[in-house]
């Protein structure tokens, strides 16, 4: 019997992973305070957390529009065979 990886069967590990992820979120937000060149690009890019907000909203928008789209285009798997 081949050895199996079961690392994510343990809820504690999943929790740790999620915690690490949240820390990373905070870090990339704080990274904006680093002294890199902020003159290039659109003005809107320089407002704090623009990319974070835009990424989050885009994602939610994508999923909810896809849900609506599903109502319109979803058919049974054998639709074309009928």
């Amino acid at each position: 019997m081949k050895k199996e990886l079961t690392i994510f069967d343990n809820p504690k590990n999943v929790k740790r992973l999620r915690l690490g992820f949240y820390v990373a979120l905070v870090l990339v937000l704080l990274a904006e305070f680093l002294p890199y060149d902020k003159h290039h690009g659109w003005d809107i890019e320089h407002s704090f957390g623009f990319y974070a907000v835009y990424g989050f909203i885009s994602y939610v928008f994508l999923i909810f529009v896809a849900k609506l789209l599903r109502k319109l285009v979803m058919r049974k798997e054998d639709y074309y065979d009928q």
Binding site: E4, Y36, A52, A66, L69, V73, M74, R75, Y79
Partner: protein, 591 residues
């Protein structure tokens, strides 16, 4: 030296003939050797020259236009052919091997062609050989999809051919370079090429056919057709504004379908369209930076897309399943495949230090340089979309998510090795991008790793992933459902059938209806004239009878008899004449 070397296209196409006659290790070594020889050939070609030229009926056939643009595409297609062959090395099906090699060779022919004659011939060889890769699954679905695929591509080829004929007639030469969109011939060529790039709305063949290939053949398919079209668009239609619009649609629309799709390879097919969309936007912008970006993105994309299709192919081969609803938790027994898949996912998501980052950011920066704000916003939105379907959905639902209970083994060594090399390229290009930049067609003054780029991109990706986390924990994430989602192929799959049935029903009904109308109108007309004459006769004679003193019953009988006589034509001709004359007399008196 050059004249002793075979053009890579012919090397592949002629070389493929030998494959069925070889066995075992010799066959495997021979198939791996072909791309290596082609690669060495490419490395020794004289930059900026036209070679392998022959005269054909007074026209130039140029099988080797060697410049930086054709070379970089030549290199990546040759590398891809090597990886594809290695991934499929243990497949015992000569049909796939031969058509795969011929397909790769024809693509190289297209890329190196300096004239329309050889371009067109290789173009059609591409269409036919790739069809064999689709039907190689030998299922009813794949046969039907392959049939639709080849029909669509033959139609596209006809557009291209018509454009070429008009082009040659107009310009008196078969040689081509920049064409630009003016005149009917350029539009015909554009449509023919754009169809191969899966440009919306000519795209439906791609998500229809690619998921039907075998675990190994789809890897070939993912690389060549669309990216050779991208190459041609860079060469012939750079700066065509319509490509910005088409590209904008392609980066944004397919990602919604990728969210909905259940079949992992169909998700990846929509994702492929999204990536080609980035390239088309770059070509449409048309500046040096944008065209460099489109070229670099094609180079990186071929590798990570192939890597993702290889991971999906490995899962399909080892489990026999590829639908989100049927797989999950595979990391337990396929950790290496899982790792390679995640490297591909990170690359396509343009995570810093992975290949997509150094190429995609060039295109996005170009949209900023040209101050096209809407497109810039769309590209950023689409980047988040990539995170969802390719960055998270594909690895998550395949290797994590709910445990399907499947305990499949890792794929054979050759497949792991092919994935490993592709993954190494993805990481390598993300870190050591300078060699790639040096190969690009225009001089590069671009720095991908600036603080603003890295922080912005990390925020975009991580907060997209954060949205996914919140949605899936709250149960609001879109559920995976076994389904078929309608796309533009509906027009020729369902509408075509409906049109036939409609024509059948419509035309036959029309027959019936017009028959009925005709008969009834003839009847109506006939009875109208019969009636009118009879009533006219009655009108005249009744007055005469009244004057003569006929009343009541007797009058009724006389009226009925006259009416019947006239209606049935039994009236002696003299009375008819008398009626006519009396009518004329009345008219005469009235006027």
């Amino acid at each position: 030296m050059i004249n002793n070397m075979l053009p890579p296209a012919l090397l592949f196409i002629l070389g493929a003939i030998l494959i069925p006659f070889l066995r075992g290790r010799a066959k495997q070594a021979y198939m791996l050797l072909l791309p290596v020889v082609a690669f060495v050939t490419l490395m020794n070609l004289p930059l900026g020259q036209e070679i392998w030229t022959i005269q054909f009926w007074g026209y130039d056939v140029i099988m080797g236009r060697i410049d930086k643009l054709s070379l970089i595409f030549g290199y990546i297609f040759t590398i891809m052919a090597f990886l594809g062959v290695m991934f499929a090395l243990q497949v015992e099906d000569d049909l796939q091997h031969v058509s795969g090699i011929v397909y790769a060779g024809a693509t190289l022919g297209v890329v190196l062609a300096g004239d329309f004659l050889s371009l067109y011939i290789f173009w059609e060889i591409m269409a036919v050989s790739s069809t064999f890769l689709i039907i190689a699954s030998r299922t009813r679905e794949s046969r039907e999809a392959g049939f639709r695929y080849v029909l669509v591509h033959l139609v596209g080829g006809l557009f291209l051919l018509a454009g070429i004929v008009l082009y040659i007639q107009k310009n008196g030469t078969t040689a081509f370079d920049y064409i630009g969109l003016d005149g009917i011939e350029s539009w015909l060529i554009f449509i023919g090429v754009a169809l191969n790039a899966a440009a919306i709305p000519l795209h439906a063949w791609l998500p229809d056919a690619y998921p039907m290939g075998t675990p190994t053949s789809t890897v070939f398919l993912s690389a060549f057709t669309t990216k050779s079209a991208v190459y041609l668009l860079i060469r012939t239609f750079p700066g065509a504004d319509i490509l910005i619009v088409i590209g904008g649609l392609m980066v944004s629309l397919p990602i919604f379908y990728a969210v909905l799709e259940n079949d992992i390879r169909r998700v990846l097919s929509y994702s492929l369209m999204n990536q080609v969309g980035f390239m088309l936007v770059g070509i449409g912008i048309g500046t040096d930076l944008a065209l460099n970006g489109a070229t670099a993105h094609a180079f990186c994309h071929i590798l990570y897309k192939a890597l993702l299709f290889m991971a999906a192919g490995s899962v399909l081969q080892m489990t026999g399943k590829i639908k989100c609803t049927e797989i999950g938790g595979l990391y337990k027994t396929m950790p290496l495949t899982c790792l390679f898949c995640m490297i591909g996912a990170a690359s396509i998501s343009a995570f810093p230090l992975f290949s997509g980052f150094v190429s995609k950011s060039m295109i996005i920066s170009a949209s900023f340089e040209e101050k096209i704000f809407i497109i810039w916003l769309v590209l950023q939105f689409a980047s988040t979309g990539v995170v969802d379907h390719a960055g998270i959905k594909v690895p998550f639902f395949t290797f994590f998510g709910h445990d399907s209970g499947i305990r499949a083994k890792e794929p054979p060594l050759n497949m792991l090795l092919a994935m490993g090399i592709a993954a190494a390229f993805c990481v390598g290009l993300g870190i050591f991008y300078q060699p790639l930049y040096d190969m690009l067609p225009f001089p590069v003054h671009y720095v991908p790793y600036t603080g603003a780029h890295v922080v912005g991109q990390l925020q975009l990706l991580l907060f997209g992933a954060f949205a996914f986390t919140l949605l899936i924990l709250s149960g609001l994430y879109i559920p995976e459902i076994r389904s078929k989602n309608l796309d533009a192929d509906w027009t020729y799959r369902k509408l075509g059938r409906l049109a036939y049935r409609g024509a059948d029903l419509g035309l036959n009904t029309l027959n019936r209806v017009s028959e009925a109308i005709l008969i009834r109108s003839v009847k109506a007309t006939a009875s109208f004239f019969k009636d009118t004459v009879a009533k006219l006769a009655l009108f005249v004679t009744v007055n005469v009878w009244l004057l003569q003193g006929h009343r009541d019953k007797r009058l009724e009988i006389k009226k009925a008899r006259l009416y019947n006589d006239i209606a049935q034509g039994t009236l002696p001709i003299g009375i008819g004449a008398a009626v006519a004359i009396s009518f004329i007399i009345i008219v005469y008196f009235i006027t």
